[in-house]
Protein backbone atom coordinates (compact mmCIF):
# COMPACT_ATOMS: atom_id res chain seq x y z
CA UNK A 1 0.00 0.00 0.00
CA UNK A 2 1.14 3.54 -0.64
CA UNK A 3 1.97 6.23 1.87
CA UNK A 4 -1.24 8.07 0.93
CA UNK A 5 -3.37 5.09 1.93
CA UNK A 6 -1.54 4.68 5.24
CA UNK A 7 -1.92 8.38 5.91
CA UNK A 8 -5.64 8.34 5.20
CA UNK A 9 -6.16 5.35 7.49
CA UNK A 10 -3.94 6.84 10.18
CA UNK A 11 -5.96 10.06 10.11
CA UNK A 12 -9.03 7.93 10.85
CA UNK A 13 -7.29 6.59 13.94
CA UNK A 14 -5.73 3.41 12.53
CA UNK A 15 -2.66 2.86 14.71
CA UNK A 16 -1.55 -0.04 12.48
CA UNK A 17 -1.43 2.25 9.46
CA UNK A 18 0.55 4.80 11.44
CA UNK A 19 2.92 2.01 12.51
CA UNK A 20 3.49 1.33 8.81
CA UNK A 21 4.47 4.99 8.39
CA UNK A 22 6.83 4.59 11.35
CA UNK A 23 8.33 1.57 9.60
CA UNK A 24 8.90 3.61 6.44
CA UNK A 25 10.30 6.74 8.03
CA UNK A 26 11.96 5.84 11.32
CA UNK A 27 15.42 5.12 9.88
CA UNK A 28 15.62 8.40 8.01
CA UNK A 29 14.21 10.36 10.90
CA UNK A 30 16.62 8.78 13.38
CA UNK A 31 19.57 9.66 11.13
CA UNK A 32 18.24 13.19 10.66
CA UNK A 33 18.07 13.70 14.42
CA UNK A 34 21.22 11.74 15.24
CA UNK A 35 23.33 13.84 12.89
CA UNK A 36 22.17 17.01 14.59
CA UNK A 37 22.23 15.90 18.24
CA UNK A 38 25.24 13.59 18.00
CA UNK A 39 23.93 11.39 20.75
CA UNK A 40 22.45 7.93 20.12
CA UNK A 41 20.11 7.87 23.13
CA UNK A 42 18.89 11.44 22.71
CA UNK A 43 18.35 10.83 18.99
CA UNK A 44 16.27 7.70 19.62
CA UNK A 45 14.20 9.50 22.25
CA UNK A 46 13.66 12.53 20.02
CA UNK A 47 12.70 10.32 17.06
CA UNK A 48 10.13 8.54 19.22
CA UNK A 49 8.77 11.82 20.57
CA UNK A 50 8.50 13.23 17.04
CA UNK A 51 6.42 10.23 15.95
CA UNK A 52 4.21 10.46 19.03
CA UNK A 53 3.57 14.15 18.41
CA UNK A 54 2.81 13.40 14.79
CA UNK A 55 0.39 10.65 15.84
CA UNK A 56 -1.41 12.95 18.26
CA UNK A 57 -1.75 15.61 15.58
CA UNK A 58 -2.26 13.38 12.54
CA UNK A 59 -5.92 14.41 12.20
CA UNK A 60 -4.76 17.96 11.55
CA UNK A 61 -2.29 16.92 8.82
CA UNK A 62 -3.84 18.14 5.58
CA UNK A 63 -1.18 16.99 3.13
CA UNK A 64 -0.03 20.49 2.20
CA UNK A 65 3.50 19.13 2.34
CA UNK A 66 4.84 15.58 2.36
CA UNK A 67 4.46 13.53 5.52
CA UNK A 68 8.26 13.43 5.71
CA UNK A 69 8.61 17.24 5.71
CA UNK A 70 5.89 17.49 8.33
CA UNK A 71 7.53 14.85 10.51
CA UNK A 72 11.00 16.35 10.10
CA UNK A 73 9.63 19.76 11.00
CA UNK A 74 8.35 18.32 14.28
CA UNK A 75 11.75 16.71 14.83
CA UNK A 76 13.52 19.94 13.94
CA UNK A 77 11.63 21.70 16.74
CA UNK A 78 12.69 18.95 19.17
CA UNK A 79 16.31 19.27 18.03
CA UNK A 80 16.25 23.02 18.58
CA UNK A 81 14.69 22.57 22.02
CA UNK A 82 17.25 19.93 22.97
CA UNK A 83 20.17 22.00 21.75
CA UNK A 84 18.84 25.05 23.56
CA UNK A 85 18.47 22.96 26.69
CA UNK A 86 22.08 21.87 26.34
CA UNK A 87 23.10 25.48 25.99
CA UNK A 88 24.19 25.32 22.38
CA UNK A 89 23.11 27.96 19.92
CA UNK A 90 19.81 27.14 18.29
CA UNK A 91 19.51 27.13 14.54
CA UNK A 92 21.82 28.65 12.33
CA UNK A 93 22.52 26.10 14.14
CA UNK A 94 20.93 22.95 13.07
CA UNK A 95 24.33 22.14 11.72
CA UNK A 96 26.49 19.51 13.30
CA UNK A 97 30.21 19.14 13.56
CA UNK A 98 31.59 17.32 10.61
CA UNK A 99 34.19 15.73 12.86
CA UNK A 100 31.76 13.54 14.73
CA UNK A 101 33.81 11.33 17.06
CA UNK A 102 30.99 8.79 17.16
CA UNK A 103 30.75 8.49 13.38
CA UNK A 104 31.26 4.95 12.06
CA UNK A 105 34.84 3.92 11.48
CA UNK A 106 35.88 4.16 7.86
CA UNK A 107 36.09 0.79 6.20
CA UNK A 108 37.31 1.83 2.76
CA UNK A 109 40.88 2.45 1.69
CA UNK A 110 43.21 5.31 2.56
CA UNK A 111 42.47 7.17 -0.63
CA UNK A 112 38.74 7.20 0.03
CA UNK A 113 39.36 8.29 3.60
CA UNK A 114 41.60 11.12 2.41
CA UNK A 115 38.86 12.28 0.05
CA UNK A 116 36.32 12.21 2.87
CA UNK A 117 38.64 14.33 4.98
CA UNK A 118 38.86 16.82 2.12
CA UNK A 119 35.07 17.01 1.96
CA UNK A 120 34.85 17.43 5.73
CA UNK A 121 37.39 20.26 5.65
CA UNK A 122 35.65 21.91 2.68
CA UNK A 123 32.28 21.71 4.45
CA UNK A 124 33.76 23.47 7.45
CA UNK A 125 34.82 26.35 5.23
CA UNK A 126 31.34 27.22 4.02
CA UNK A 127 28.60 28.96 6.02
CA UNK A 128 26.55 26.84 8.46
CA UNK A 129 23.31 27.55 6.57
CA UNK A 130 24.88 26.42 3.32
CA UNK A 131 26.32 23.34 5.00
CA UNK A 132 22.88 22.47 6.32
CA UNK A 133 21.35 22.76 2.85
CA UNK A 134 24.04 20.49 1.41
CA UNK A 135 23.38 18.03 4.20
CA UNK A 136 19.61 18.02 3.65
CA UNK A 137 20.20 17.06 0.02
CA UNK A 138 23.15 14.67 0.17
CA UNK A 139 22.74 13.17 3.62
CA UNK A 140 19.00 13.26 4.28
CA UNK A 141 18.01 12.89 0.64
CA UNK A 142 15.18 15.43 0.85
CA UNK A 143 13.63 16.89 -2.27
CA UNK A 144 13.76 20.64 -2.78
CA UNK A 145 10.04 20.87 -2.08
CA UNK A 146 10.56 19.04 1.20
CA UNK A 147 13.44 21.35 2.13
CA UNK A 148 11.26 24.32 1.26
CA UNK A 149 8.52 23.09 3.62
CA UNK A 150 10.99 22.11 6.34
CA UNK A 151 12.85 25.41 6.37
CA UNK A 152 9.83 27.59 5.60
CA UNK A 153 11.48 29.05 2.50
CA UNK A 154 10.05 29.53 -1.00
CA UNK A 155 11.10 26.79 -3.41
CA UNK A 156 12.96 29.27 -5.65
CA UNK A 157 14.96 30.54 -2.68
CA UNK A 158 15.95 27.00 -1.75
CA UNK A 159 17.18 26.35 -5.29
CA UNK A 160 19.16 29.58 -5.49
CA UNK A 161 20.76 29.09 -2.06
CA UNK A 162 21.58 25.51 -2.80
CA UNK A 163 23.14 26.42 -6.11
CA UNK A 164 25.29 28.98 -4.32
CA UNK A 165 26.21 26.54 -1.55
CA UNK A 166 27.19 23.85 -4.00
CA UNK A 167 29.28 26.24 -6.04
CA UNK A 168 31.16 27.43 -2.94
CA UNK A 169 31.72 23.92 -1.69
CA UNK A 170 33.00 22.83 -5.07
CA UNK A 171 35.50 25.69 -5.17
CA UNK A 172 36.80 24.67 -1.73
CA UNK A 173 36.94 21.04 -2.69
CA UNK A 174 38.75 21.63 -5.98
CA UNK A 175 41.34 23.73 -4.19
CA UNK A 176 42.01 20.78 -1.92
CA UNK A 177 42.12 18.36 -4.81
CA UNK A 178 44.78 20.54 -6.40
CA UNK A 179 46.84 20.23 -3.23
CA UNK A 180 46.10 16.50 -2.80
CA UNK A 181 45.46 15.19 -6.31
CA UNK A 182 43.82 11.77 -6.46
Amino acid sequence: MTEDVFLRQARHGDAGAFAALVQQSSGGLYRFVRARLRDDGAAADAAQEAFLRAWRAIASFRGECSFRSWLYRIAQRLIIDERTRRGRAPVAGLDFDEADPAAPEPTAGLEAEAERQDVRAALERIAPDERELIRLVYYDGLSYKEISALRGLPLGTVKVRLHRARARLRVQLEEMWEVHPA
Partner: protein, 221 residues
Protein backbone atom coordinates in the same frame (compact mmCIF):
# COMPACT_ATOMS: atom_id res chain seq x y z
CA UNK B 1 16.32 24.00 -32.82
CA UNK B 2 20.07 23.44 -33.05
CA UNK B 3 22.22 24.67 -30.17
CA UNK B 4 25.17 25.25 -32.54
CA UNK B 5 26.10 28.68 -33.87
CA UNK B 6 26.79 27.14 -37.31
CA UNK B 7 30.52 26.72 -36.67
CA UNK B 8 30.17 23.78 -34.35
CA UNK B 9 30.24 25.90 -31.19
CA UNK B 10 27.41 26.39 -28.69
CA UNK B 11 26.76 30.06 -27.77
CA UNK B 12 27.86 30.85 -24.20
CA UNK B 13 24.51 32.41 -23.29
CA UNK B 14 22.94 28.97 -23.71
CA UNK B 15 25.57 27.51 -21.39
CA UNK B 16 24.79 30.21 -18.81
CA UNK B 17 21.14 29.15 -18.79
CA UNK B 18 21.98 25.46 -18.58
CA UNK B 19 24.86 25.61 -16.06
CA UNK B 20 22.74 25.93 -12.87
CA UNK B 21 20.81 22.82 -13.89
CA UNK B 22 23.82 20.57 -14.42
CA UNK B 23 24.31 19.23 -10.86
CA UNK B 24 20.61 18.46 -10.51
CA UNK B 25 20.55 16.84 -13.94
CA UNK B 26 23.42 14.60 -12.90
CA UNK B 27 21.55 13.67 -9.71
CA UNK B 28 18.32 12.98 -11.65
CA UNK B 29 16.48 15.74 -9.77
CA UNK B 30 15.16 17.66 -12.79
CA UNK B 31 11.68 17.29 -14.24
CA UNK B 32 11.39 15.58 -17.60
CA UNK B 33 11.26 18.81 -19.65
CA UNK B 34 14.37 20.38 -18.11
CA UNK B 35 16.21 17.06 -18.12
CA UNK B 36 15.61 16.71 -21.85
CA UNK B 37 16.73 20.29 -22.51
CA UNK B 38 19.96 19.71 -20.57
CA UNK B 39 20.59 16.34 -22.22
CA UNK B 40 20.31 17.83 -25.71
CA UNK B 41 22.54 20.75 -24.80
CA UNK B 42 25.22 18.64 -23.14
CA UNK B 43 25.31 16.30 -26.14
CA UNK B 44 26.46 19.23 -28.31
CA UNK B 45 28.50 21.28 -25.84
CA UNK B 46 31.94 20.08 -24.74
CA UNK B 47 32.21 22.86 -22.14
CA UNK B 48 29.04 21.73 -20.36
CA UNK B 49 29.95 18.06 -20.78
CA UNK B 50 33.17 18.86 -18.88
CA UNK B 51 31.12 20.66 -16.23
CA UNK B 52 28.90 17.61 -15.83
CA UNK B 53 31.99 15.48 -15.27
CA UNK B 54 33.22 17.93 -12.60
CA UNK B 55 29.85 17.97 -10.86
CA UNK B 56 29.77 14.17 -10.98
CA UNK B 57 33.08 13.99 -9.15
CA UNK B 58 31.84 16.56 -6.65
CA UNK B 59 28.60 14.66 -5.99
CA UNK B 60 30.40 11.33 -5.66
CA UNK B 61 32.81 12.77 -3.09
CA UNK B 62 30.11 14.52 -1.06
CA UNK B 63 27.80 11.50 -1.16
CA UNK B 64 30.64 9.17 -0.09
CA UNK B 65 31.41 11.49 2.81
CA UNK B 66 27.82 11.51 4.04
CA UNK B 67 27.35 7.79 3.40
CA UNK B 68 30.28 7.07 5.70
CA UNK B 69 28.84 9.39 8.37
CA UNK B 70 25.39 7.76 8.24
CA UNK B 71 24.86 5.93 11.55
CA UNK B 72 23.22 2.56 12.01
CA UNK B 73 19.65 2.74 13.22
CA UNK B 74 19.46 1.08 16.68
CA UNK B 75 17.95 -2.39 16.53
CA UNK B 76 14.39 -2.40 17.76
CA UNK B 77 13.89 1.35 17.46
CA UNK B 78 11.05 1.03 14.94
CA UNK B 79 9.26 -1.55 17.08
CA UNK B 80 9.73 0.58 20.17
CA UNK B 81 8.20 3.63 18.48
CA UNK B 82 5.31 1.61 17.02
CA UNK B 83 4.59 0.17 20.47
CA UNK B 84 4.64 3.65 22.01
CA UNK B 85 2.18 4.84 19.38
CA UNK B 86 -0.19 1.95 20.09
CA UNK B 87 0.10 2.51 23.84
CA UNK B 88 -0.57 6.24 23.59
CA UNK B 89 -3.42 7.02 26.01
CA UNK B 90 -6.41 8.11 23.96
CA UNK B 91 -7.60 11.63 24.63
CA UNK B 92 -10.64 13.32 23.19
CA UNK B 93 -9.97 14.14 19.57
CA UNK B 94 -6.85 11.98 19.39
CA UNK B 95 -6.68 9.47 16.55
CA UNK B 96 -7.03 6.64 19.05
CA UNK B 97 -10.33 8.08 20.20
CA UNK B 98 -11.52 8.31 16.62
CA UNK B 99 -10.55 4.68 16.15
CA UNK B 100 -12.78 3.74 19.07
CA UNK B 101 -15.56 5.89 17.69
CA UNK B 102 -15.53 3.92 14.44
CA UNK B 103 -16.96 0.89 16.22
CA UNK B 104 -19.59 2.89 18.16
CA UNK B 105 -23.09 1.47 17.58
CA UNK B 106 -24.82 2.87 14.53
CA UNK B 107 -28.22 3.09 16.25
CA UNK B 108 -26.84 5.69 18.64
CA UNK B 109 -25.76 7.91 15.78
CA UNK B 110 -29.14 7.51 14.07
CA UNK B 111 -30.89 8.33 17.32
CA UNK B 112 -28.87 11.52 17.51
CA UNK B 113 -29.76 12.40 13.93
CA UNK B 114 -33.46 11.67 14.45
CA UNK B 115 -33.68 13.67 17.68
CA UNK B 116 -31.77 16.57 16.18
CA UNK B 117 -33.91 16.88 13.02
CA UNK B 118 -37.22 16.10 14.71
CA UNK B 119 -36.61 19.04 17.03
CA UNK B 120 -35.73 21.32 14.13
CA UNK B 121 -38.78 20.24 12.10
CA UNK B 122 -41.24 20.70 15.00
CA UNK B 123 -39.79 24.13 15.76
CA UNK B 124 -39.99 25.13 12.08
CA UNK B 125 -43.59 23.88 11.79
CA UNK B 126 -44.66 25.77 14.91
CA UNK B 127 -42.93 28.92 13.69
CA UNK B 128 -44.60 28.76 10.28
CA UNK B 129 -48.03 27.66 11.52
CA UNK B 130 -49.59 31.14 12.01
CA UNK B 131 -48.46 32.24 8.53
CA UNK B 132 -49.95 29.12 6.95
CA UNK B 133 -53.20 29.48 8.89
CA UNK B 134 -53.54 33.16 7.99
CA UNK B 135 -52.71 32.47 4.33
CA UNK B 136 -55.23 29.65 4.02
CA UNK B 137 -58.30 31.93 3.93
CA UNK B 138 -58.93 34.19 0.90
CA UNK B 139 -57.99 37.55 2.38
CA UNK B 140 -56.71 41.01 1.56
CA UNK B 141 -53.33 42.08 2.91
CA UNK B 142 -54.95 43.93 5.80
CA UNK B 143 -57.13 40.95 6.61
CA UNK B 144 -54.05 38.67 6.39
CA UNK B 145 -52.28 40.83 8.96
CA UNK B 146 -55.26 40.74 11.28
CA UNK B 147 -55.65 36.99 10.87
CA UNK B 148 -51.90 36.47 11.41
CA UNK B 149 -52.07 38.43 14.65
CA UNK B 150 -55.02 36.35 15.77
CA UNK B 151 -53.24 33.09 14.86
CA UNK B 152 -50.15 34.15 16.74
CA UNK B 153 -52.22 35.02 19.78
CA UNK B 154 -54.16 31.74 19.73
CA UNK B 155 -51.21 29.45 18.86
CA UNK B 156 -48.93 31.30 21.22
CA UNK B 157 -51.44 30.91 24.02
CA UNK B 158 -51.80 27.16 23.39
CA UNK B 159 -48.10 26.51 22.88
CA UNK B 160 -47.09 28.51 25.94
CA UNK B 161 -49.15 26.01 27.92
CA UNK B 162 -47.17 23.16 26.36
CA UNK B 163 -43.71 24.73 26.36
CA UNK B 164 -42.51 25.72 29.77
CA UNK B 165 -39.76 27.87 28.30
CA UNK B 166 -42.10 30.06 26.18
CA UNK B 167 -42.21 33.64 27.44
CA UNK B 168 -45.49 35.09 28.71
CA UNK B 169 -45.41 37.69 25.96
CA UNK B 170 -45.70 34.91 23.35
CA UNK B 171 -49.48 34.62 23.71
CA UNK B 172 -50.25 38.32 23.40
CA UNK B 173 -47.41 39.25 21.05
CA UNK B 174 -49.31 39.57 17.78
CA UNK B 175 -52.27 41.50 19.12
CA UNK B 176 -50.36 43.80 21.44
CA UNK B 177 -47.31 44.94 19.49
CA UNK B 178 -48.19 44.76 15.82
CA UNK B 179 -47.72 41.82 13.47
CA UNK B 180 -43.96 42.00 12.77
CA UNK B 181 -42.83 42.49 16.36
CA UNK B 182 -45.43 40.06 17.59
CA UNK B 183 -44.27 37.43 15.13
CA UNK B 184 -40.67 37.99 16.17
CA UNK B 185 -41.64 37.45 19.81
CA UNK B 186 -43.65 34.42 18.83
CA UNK B 187 -40.89 32.79 16.75
CA UNK B 188 -37.93 33.52 19.04
CA UNK B 189 -38.59 30.69 21.54
CA UNK B 190 -38.73 28.17 18.68
CA UNK B 191 -35.38 29.32 17.30
CA UNK B 192 -33.91 29.08 20.79
CA UNK B 193 -35.56 25.72 21.28
CA UNK B 194 -34.07 24.33 18.05
CA UNK B 195 -30.63 25.78 18.80
CA UNK B 196 -30.54 24.41 22.35
CA UNK B 197 -31.80 21.04 21.09
CA UNK B 198 -29.04 20.91 18.48
CA UNK B 199 -26.39 21.83 21.03
CA UNK B 200 -27.57 19.20 23.50
CA UNK B 201 -27.77 16.62 20.76
CA UNK B 202 -24.21 17.41 19.60
CA UNK B 203 -22.84 17.42 23.11
CA UNK B 204 -24.41 14.17 24.28
CA UNK B 205 -24.37 11.87 21.25
CA UNK B 206 -21.17 13.40 19.89
CA UNK B 207 -19.44 12.87 23.22
CA UNK B 208 -20.72 9.32 23.55
CA UNK B 209 -19.54 8.23 20.12
CA UNK B 210 -16.67 10.55 19.30
CA UNK B 211 -18.55 11.57 16.16
CA UNK B 212 -19.88 14.92 15.29
CA UNK B 213 -23.44 14.05 14.45
CA UNK B 214 -23.54 15.62 11.04
CA UNK B 215 -20.42 13.84 9.82
CA UNK B 216 -21.18 10.42 8.43
CA UNK B 217 -17.57 9.80 7.49
CA UNK B 218 -16.73 9.49 11.14
CA UNK B 219 -14.18 12.31 11.17
CA UNK B 220 -13.94 14.24 14.35
CA UNK B 221 -13.86 17.85 13.36
Amino acid sequence: MSANDGRGRVPRRQCAAIAPLLPDWDLGRLDAGDADRVRRHVAQCPRCAAEVAAWRRFSAAVTAHFDAARPEVPAGLTGRIAAAVRAEAPGRGSPARVARARVAPGWLRWLGWAGEWAGVLVAAAAALAPIIIAWAAPVTWAAFETRLAQSIAVLGHRLSGILAQAPASLAAGGAAAGTAVGYAWYVLPFILWAAVGLAISYATVGYATGYTIGDESGHVT
